[in-house]
């Protein structure tokens, strides 16, 4: 069953058509990827899926329900969480606070009972903390829990951003260039990290990535975007040998 369906989505900014009549179906439980040259419209596609932009045309379905037109916070509540191409952590807060904040969307106590530390709110806060600590433990970030987010090494910041997205109890995780800025060994680690979280948290993962080694290794299906247009889709081998894809990437370093 497809967990995410993008149907005839077009996104225009003034005269620029960033995404043109895009159709995507991501299967539940899989790792799929969206690739394409710079400026192809990949991030824009993510922004449409997560509600940052309302598409000029077309619809997005999550678990067969329309989510087009919902605000980003509502979409996250439904179970789609994301990371950003340029890391967007809550920079001046601790690692633990970053994770706790991502738990806030499921809070049941209102601000009064939280402020006045009512027993049920205290219980909820305690559960939130336990859940966050457990998540940090699972992702190997426990030792950093009291560090300020921006003081973390780059690779750890990327990891924390993924952890934060997971803390929202997402079912579908959208990763926008998770390996950007990582060295080869960090990139290798990332691929096993992605496998691990997929299995551990029963996730579906849809990611944008420029590192072709990584994409080819872990994606079960690849979509190729060029000038806002879907030009190919299929397994790594199918896409790799597609003449249109080769043409689109011509002059572009494949490993860039």
């Amino acid at each position: 069953m497809s967990i995410l369906k993008v149907e005839n989505v077009t996104m225009q900014f003034g005269g620029v058509t960033a995404v043109n009549n895009l159709n995507i179906e991501v299967e539940e439980g899989r790792i799929e990827a969206l690739i394409g040259p710079n400026g192809a419209g990949k991030t824009t596609a993510f922004n449409v899926i997560t509600g940052v932009y309302t598409p000029t045309n077309g619809s997005v379905y999550f678990n067969d329900e329309v989510i087009t037109g919902l605000t980003p916070d509502k979409i996250t509540k439904r179970g789609i969480a994301r990371t950003f191409q340029n890391i967007r952590l809550f920079k001046n807060l601790t690692v633990l606070d970053n994770i706790l904040i991502a738990n806030h969307l499921r809070i049941k106590s209102n601000f009064m009972s939280c402020t006045f530390r009512m027993p049920w709110s205290k219980r909820e806060e305690k559960q939130m903390r336990e859940k966050s600590e457990m998540l940090l433990e699972k992702l190997g970030l426990s030792d950093l829990r009291n560090e300020i987010a921006h003081s973390l090494p780059y690779g750890e910041q990327r990891k924390l951003e993924i952890a934060r997205a997971l803390a929202t109890d997402a079912k579908l995780l959208l990763l926008d260039e998770p390996a950007a800025g990582m060295n080869p060994s960090e990139t290798m680690e990332l691929s096993s990290f992605i496998y691990n979280i997929r299995d551990e948290f029963n996730l579906t993962i849809f990611m944008i990535e420029h590192h072709m080694d990584l994409v080819m290794e872990i994606s079960e299906k690849i979509y190729v975007l060029d000038f806002g247009q879907l030009i190919a889709q299929g397994t790594a081998d199918e896409v790799k040998n597609n003449p249109r894809v080769i043409e689109a990437y011509l002059g572009v370093d494949e490993d860039a």
Binding site: D73, D97, F111
Partner: protein, 362 residues
């Protein structure tokens, strides 16, 4: 480990000791054993400034909104207390030009009720401003709140049958004890502290840090902004109500939007995002404003009249201070930290290290 526990116990004892001194000083002042009326008045004013500044920091420092409506919200609180606590029999004397609105003229409320009502009305006003404005980009809030402040002041000047216009409302009952001001201030600061350190407070901070990321983490931006803004207004209203009772009179000129700049200075000085910094800065600025008062008096030195010393000069000095602060001390006293023994300890350690470092080079 044992040393740590020991340390903790000592610190707790010091804290209790300091709190006891504070209580003792207030009790002595309150029973008129020490100090005079002027000092009591300035200290009460400090308590009020603390409430308003901490609540402004909740909105501007912790949530990252830029509100300049404090004077307006205070006016709502102040007028609510004024309208409903002046004893019924003296009202005709207060409203001698235009009779008070017949409905309000029959209502007298206990101070505590009027105070809370003032806070609630200020919060209601904040919600009404917030609903259209907080959906827009954050820059609009500063303009809207400034405008609101001015509107409130102009309404207070002109709605004579309710507010007595420019004459203001006199004969507001004064409070018998400083504990009214300090009690409310302490409770307010504690409530705001607890809020900021709850899940909602973390959500506010997330919005301050990065709106886009906060929204992507499922935080409803609009709802949380309105919440923070309205809670901030509530406490500004409470501060205004206390001010009415401290001065025993309200009139529209007390609520020029320039009043808001005092609070802005306080939160910048104390640290946007630090409650203890705000409390300390409230004391410093309120006391400082009193000290600076001599700039407003004509000054004659060696028989020469120094021309710049005239009413208003104080505010020039004040604005200069604000500029220096913003230019050179971005983070204020405490930045986003809270005052704790650890912070003090680190501060001294750093100074110590700096000195030895210099020695090493020499």
């Amino acid at each position: 480990m044992i040393e740590k526990v020991e340390n903790k116990r000592i610190r707790l004892l010091i804290n209790i000791f300091l709190a006891a001194i504070f209580v003792a000083v207030i009790v002595l002042l309150d029973t008129k054993k020490i100090g005079d009326d002027y000092i009591r008045r300035v200290l009460n004013l400090t308590a009020i400034y603390t409430i308003v500044s901490v609540s402004m920091n909740l909105v501007n420092g912790f949530t990252g909104l830029f509100s300049l409506g404090q004077a307006g919200f205070m006016a709502i609180g102040a007028y609510t207390v004024a309208l409903f606590t002046v004893p019924l029999q003296v009202r005709p004397n207060v409203f001698y030009m235009v009779p008070q609105n017949p409905i309000i003229a029959q209502i007298e409320l206990p101070f505590a009720i009027a105070l809370i009502l003032g806070g609630l009305l200020a919060a209601l006003a904040a919600i009404l401003i917030g609903i259209p404005v907080l959906r827009l980009k954050s820059d609009y809030l500063a303009i809207a709140t400034l405008g609101f402040s001015e509107i409130i002041r102009i309404v207070c000047t002109n709605a004579k049958s309710i507010t007595n216009g420019a004459l203001g409302i006199k004969s507001i009952p004064e409070m018998p004890t400083m504990w009214v001001f300090f009690g409310v201030a302490i409770i307010s600061v504690i409530i705001i502290y607890l809020l900021i350190n709850s899940s909602y407070g973390r959500a506010f901070k997330a919005i301050r840090e990065d709106e886009i990321a906060a929204e992507a983490m499922g935080i409803n931006l609009f709802k949380h902004k309105v919440m923070s803004f309205a809670i901030g207004a509530f406490f500004a209203g409470i501060g205004g109500g206390l001010l009415a009772s401290l001065l025993a009179t309200v009139d529209p000129r007390q609520f020029y939007f320039t009043v808001t700049y005092n609070f802005l200075l306080i939160i910048v000085l104390g640290g946007m995002g630090s409650i203890s910094g705000t409390v300390i800065a409230s004391f410093l600025v309120t006391a400082g404003l009193e000290v600076l008062r001599f700039f407003d008096e004509p000054l004659t030195l060696f028989g020469v009249n120094i021309p710049v010393f005239r009413p208003g000069f104080r505010m020039v000095i004040f604005s200069l201070l604000l500029m220096v602060l913003v230019l050179f001390f971005r983070n204020g006293l405490l930045g986003q930290k809270e005052l704790s023994w650890k912070v003090i300890h680190n501060w001294f350690n750093r100074r110590g290290k700096k000195k030895t470092g210099k020695g090493g080079v020499a």
